[in-house]
């Protein structure tokens, strides 16, 4: 039996939630005040995911950097792999919102897309 302590992110209450796990299965969830808290805790202990946002360098653009995000959430454990993979990327201006700057980042099957337009330098 493994107990995990979480803070719910559903509202400013920030309920302290305890999840009891056994062999990778949720046995018990306690400490939540509403349904959102329980759902959050179950997801967070079995399959925690995050959208990752960062920047990549731009060549020949009006701005030196362009902001990017993973098009979907990726496993929490892959956040640093994703950031590391993007550090090596430079995109060529012009860039439009939604352009794929790196596909299948860190083997997640998720693409990284631009979140800002950068025009080419004249």
């Amino acid at each position: 039996m493994e107990k995990r302590q979480l803070t719910c992110i559903g509202c400013p209450m920030g309920c302290p939630i305890t999840v009891t796990m056994e062999a990778g299965e949720v046995r018990e969830v306690t400490g939540f005040t509403c349904k959102r808290g329980e759902a959050y805790a179950r997801k967070e202990v079995t399959n925690p995911t995050r959208i990752v946002t960062t920047t990549v360098r731009v060549a020949g653009g009006l701005a030196p950097m362009v902001s990017v995000k993973t098009a979907q959430d990726i496993p929490k454990g892959k956040i640093f792999d994703c950031a590391d993979a993007l550090r090596a990327v430079t995109v060529k201006a012009p860039v439009s919102i939604g352009d794929v700057v790196l596909s299948n980042v860190a083997g997640t099957g998720v693409d990284v897309v631009a979140t800002k337009a950068v025009a080419a330098a004249q």
């Binding site: 400013p12 209450m13 920030g14 902001s67 929490k76």
Partner: protein
């Protein structure tokens, strides 16, 4: 002198939404003045997601949210001047501004919408002892350096203040390879959203020390270290609790202050609580024809609410220009009592109200299972239970126009927190 119907000062989220709604209300001659080299304001450096859930029912990043509104401004062909700094606004609604191409110039406006946003509380306003080396940044400055200019301002970081920008930057600096050692917060609670504490600190094992502050900064040319100490209930450092941290960077996320130098110059009455203008239901300030919205009016948590408020300011300014906002009605004051620090608006003209009037406010402490009550004179007209209220989260109540119109002679409206 060029003249416009409405001049909007600031091309961030508030200015953009105000411009769109004023145009949609039929005003042709609108001009946006923006000091940066692009529209979008602070959203351009807020590359994290979580914007727009209320407005677009999806989670956007800051630049994406800004782009939605910039597109609307472009579609409507609303003119704007970039790299243009407004130097003065006077009581007669004459604006003095300058930029590189036009030099110094004046513009007259039938109505002005103040949408200048806010700025961060700097070190000088925090009274932190110690030397004055390089390496001390406001969190927002570091955010701009990392996200827009591509520089990492330091490698070993301590953050003072647990406002959302500080929390976001803890994660951001960590992702870029810096080591964020600790976030210290003077208050016994964080001013940031729970989601940010979990996803920006807990995810990366960064400790949050509540009731702690920086009592010393060391280093001659560059920050070499800082000392944290615990504070008592009066926020005074407790001797013997000092802990030294070696670091090359200190980020400050200690509050935001509406940027109202221009408003003051124009003679606009400011609230000592919000540092923003005192406005009525139309978001009109004490100077007729001058309106305020967004973070220059009061600091918001969510850009969605900035956009809503700014759209209302745009509609009001349009009515003013079209001669539909004239009134000889005496406004009814909206008083903030019992834990409510302020309300926006601070007064209402019932006949000028829209059907429903949202009154936004902040509480001064954390309340659990307390009620938000509204009184018309001495009579309680509504009471709503809230499981939790905190200073970091803006609250609201809604007033109905018909309720006010059905009570001629009403002297005051009070919003208050009542504990069970």
């Amino acid at each position: 002198m060029n003249s416009y119907d409405i001049v909007i000062i600031g091309g961030g989220p508030a200015g953009l939404a105000a411009a769109v709604s004023a145009r949609d209300a039929g005003v042709e001659r609108i001009l946006i003045l923006e000091r940066d080299s692009e529209l979008g304001g602070i959203l351009n450096q807020c590359i994290h997601n979580g914007f727009g859930l209320h407005t677009f029912q999806e989670e956007l990043t800051g630049p994406e949210y800004a782009a939605r509104f910039i597109d609307q401004v472009e579609e409507r062909k609303i003119p704007y001047l970039l790299n243009t700094m407004v130097l003065d606004v006077n009581h007669d609604r004459v604006i003095t501004a300058m930029n590189k191409t036009d030099g110094l110039f004046q513009i007259s406006a039938k109505a002005i919408i103040l949408a200048m946003g806010c700025r961060e509380r700097p070190r000088g306003a925090l009274n932190i002892p110690g030397t004055r080396p390089a390496g001390i940044y406001s969190a927002g400055t570091a955010q701009r350096l990392v996200n827009m200019e591509g520089f990492l301002p330091g490698r070993k970081v301590v953050i003072l203040g647990s406002g959302d920008i500080g929390l976001i930057m803890a994660r951001r600096m960590t992702l870029e390879g810096a080591q964020v050692q600790v976030v210290a917060e003077l208050m016994p609670y964080s001013g940031g959203l729970k989601r940010n504490i979990v996803q920006c600190l807990d995810d990366f094992g960064i400790p949050l020390k509540l009731s702690h502050t920086v009592v010393d900064i060391r280093g001659r040319e560059r920050v070499e270290g800082i000392t944290l100490a615990q504070v008592d209930e009066n926020r005074r450092p407790i001797p013997g609790t000092e802990e030294d941290y070696a670091c090359d960077t200190l980020l400050l996320s200690c509050g935001l202050i509406p940027e109202n130098e221009l408003s003051r110059a124009a003679g606009v009455d400011l609230s000592p609580v919000t540092s923003g203008a005192v406005v009525d239901e139309s978001l009109e300030t004490s100077v007729p024809g001058v309106f305020a919205c967004g973070n220059v009016l009061h600091v918001h948590d969510l850009v969605d609410f900035v956009s809503q408020e700014a759209a209302a300011a745009g509609r009001s300014a349009a009515k003013y220009v079209q001669g539909q906002l004239e009134t000889d009605e005496t406004p009814i004051p909206v008083a903030a009592k019992g834990g409510v620090r302020y309300t926006v608006p601070a007064r209402v003209h019932p006949h000028r109200m829209e059907e429903q009037q949202v009154v936004r406010f902040r509480v001064g402490a954390v309340y659990q299972n307390a009620y938000i009550s509204v009184y018309f004179d001495d009579e309680r007209v509504s009471r709503r239970k809230r499981q939790i209220m905190a200073p970091g989260e803006m609250e609201q109540v809604t007033l109905k126009r018909e309720d006010l119109l059905s009570r001629p002679g009403l002297k005051s409206i009070t919003v208050t927190i009542e504990e069970a």
